[in-house]
């Protein structure tokens, strides 16, 4: 039985697709078989982030319509053994698929994979409902900003209403030095409103943008030991049930002088 997890947020641009791609890759690195499903019909991104854009032949639409076999639509990642992508159609929109169709499609992947991560589009309309149709767990991605947290709160309420009770939080693009100067919400502030279990924190990092543009998930590249890559690996391990302590995100923010100051101050 696969774990079907929807990655959603409400607000757009907070890092759902990035998290889906990187988390999927991290899980594969732990030895799991992972299927990534892009539910953002019309504005698909997951294939770009994985660097699989030019290998997409069939999409989920053709698989649902029966114009191709499901295996033909799944794109295998040659760099990561065990990772497949079911791409969305770029020439349609979110009204092209119904929740029932999505659920049936994902159920066909059920036994073959350990994890099925569904990348939800932004919003709470049909696209969102399609994405959560087959899911039993949810990951809410938010940035530590008031607007994003507000939307995430709405989505948590909707997920509860749709019967998905196992929801966990990923706080993305945290800037620890801004939190310290009280210019940004802290993770505690976010949890104060959302009140769901925290799965992990991803710091804001230039490396994430670089890897997205290259189409190379963080855990694959030569920066695997960097902070964001480690953060994703930790999240993958926590999904597997391991107790992993949160990273010290301040560690590489401080310069040498700041470290000296800290030693003398304590």
């Amino acid at each position: 039985m696969s774990r079907v997890i929807v990655v959603t947020s409400g607000k757009g641009g907070v890092g759902k697709s990035t998290c889906t791609a990187n988390l999927g890759s991290a899980l594969v690195k732990l030895g799991k078989k992972v299927a990534l499903v892009d539910a953002d019909f019309g504005l698909r991104n997951l294939d770009l982030l994985l660097g699989l854009e030019n290998r997409v032949v069939y999409t989920a639409i053709e698989a649902i319509a029966g114009e191709c076999r499901l295996e033909q639509a799944l794109v295998k990642d040659k760099r990561q053994n065990g990772l497949v992508l079911l791409p969305a159609a770029q020439n349609r929109n979110k009204e092209s698929v119904t929740p029932t169709q999505m659920k049936q499609l994902i159920m066909r992947l059920n036994k073959a994979f350990d994890y099925i991560l569904v990348d939800s589009p932004a919003g709470i309309e049909m696209g969102f409902r399609n994405a959560i149709a087959a899911a039993r767990e949810a990951l809410i991605v938010t940035t530590p900003e008031v607007a994003a947290v507000r939307d995430a709160d709405r989505v948590v309420g909707l997920l509860e209403a749709y019967g998905i009770k196992r929801t966990r939080l990923i706080v993305n693009r945290l800037k620890p030095e801004m939190v310290k100067q009280n210019e940004m919400m802290s993770v505690e502030d976010v949890l104060e409103i959302l009140a769901i279990p925290l799965l992990g924190i991803i710091p804001d990092d230039k490396q994430v943008i670089v890897s997205s543009n290259r189409g190379e998930p963080l855990v694959l590249g030569d920066k695997q030991n960097d902070l964001p890559a480690t953060a994703f690996m930790n999240i993958a391990r926590r999904l597997e049930g391991e107790k992993v302590p949160l990273l010290n995100l301040m560690a590489n923010q401080e310069g040498f002088l700041a470290k000296i100051r800290r030693i003398f101050a304590s």
Binding site: R150, D151, D153, R154, V156, G157, I193, A195
Partner: protein, 306 residues
């Protein structure tokens, strides 16, 4: 809402100084009026035909008749008619026996038979009669029921407290109890009071016809007295609302440092919605019905300046 009065709520501290100067002159007469108001209400209630109170205990249904001080039952027809409707409106009863607490009403053999007939279609049997009138006890014993005859001065004042009244489905309970956080986008509308054990997140809203109690942090919108009831209060452990509304008045909260937050009550004054510390409110504030707003009464320990 007729007209919206947009007010910024001042800090609670400034509120209390505002009102102590007003109320000290007229405090004493007002308090006396309030107490007198309590008694006149009783005879009014006695005029209307009361309904039979009934409540479900573990193994029997208890019926309570009003005492003769409240209402002397002479015409039983309306009583039975009301009771028949209540029985029909309630669902199936999981018990078989009925105890009748007649108090000091005069219940004859014929009334007992009529009651038994009413209960029969619901598979209920009258079993025991509690009364303190000798005639009622004799009638009950003759009819074959167990009788408990209490001495006359022991009216069962505590019985109604033990009863959880079964309400007919069209009569909604007065309070809605929400045992979770109200999230953004959720709107609760209720013709009564609302209690939330949890937070009300920004974007969430509660619209109640009476009071609102948030046992947590109120960060969203709360509208008490939604149908125009100006006695409506909004109470929260932490008041950080987006907007507060009582009847047709709207207010924003003044931005306040988070550390100072204590449980507060929002209520309507002549000048609009104000906040008072919760512990202070119930003891020191009373609703002035003629002026249609709450007012702080003076400290009873302070000497009245006559």
């Amino acid at each position: 809402m007729a007209e919206l009065d947009d007010h910024t709520l001042p800090n609670p501290d400034s509120t209390s100084t505002e009102f102590s100067s007003n109320s000290s002159e007229s405090a004493t007469p007002e308090i006396v009026t309030e107490r007198d108001d309590l008694n006149p209400k009783e005879p009014e209630a006695a005029m209307a035909t009361p309904e039979l109170q009934f409540g479900l205990e573990a193994d029997h249904l208890t019926l309570v008749l009003p005492t003769t001080q409240t209402y002397e039952i002479e015409a039983w027809d309306t009583i039975w008619a009301n009771f028949r409707e209540q029985l029909q409106a309630a669902a199936d009863f999981p018990v078989a026996h009925v105890h009748l607490i007649a108090q000091n009403q005069l219940v004859g053999g014929r009334q007992l038979q009529e009651l038994a007939d009413l209960l029969k279609p619901h598979d209920l049997k009258l079993k025991r009669i509690y009364t303190n009138r000798r005639q009622t006890a004799i009638a009950a014993a003759t009819a074959g029921y167990s009788v408990d005859q209490d001495p006359p001065n022991q009216l069962l004042a505590d019985v109604p407290l033990k009863l959880k009244p079964l309400l007919a489905p069209d009569k909604e309970p007065e309070v809605l109890y929400i045992d979770q956080t109200v999230r953004s986008g959720v709107e609760i509308v209720y013709p009564g009071s609302v209690i939330v054990t949890g937070d009300v997140n920004p974007g969430g809203s509660i619209v109640a016809d009476k009071d609102i109690v948030v046992w947590g942090c109120l960060r969203g919108v709360a509208h008490a007295g939604a149908k125009g009831d100006r006695t409506g209060r909004i109470m929260a452990l932490q008041m950080e609302p987006t907007q507060l509304r009582i009847a047709d008045v709207v207010a924003r909260a003044a931005p306040q440092a988070v550390e100072q937050r204590k449980p507060e009550v929002a209520y309507l004054t002549q000048a609009g919605i104000r906040l008072a510390p919760a512990l202070k409110f119930s003891k020191n504030y009373q609703y002035q019905a003629d002026q249609q707003h709450w007012q702080e009464t003076s400290d009873p320990l302070l000497p009245v300046i006559s």
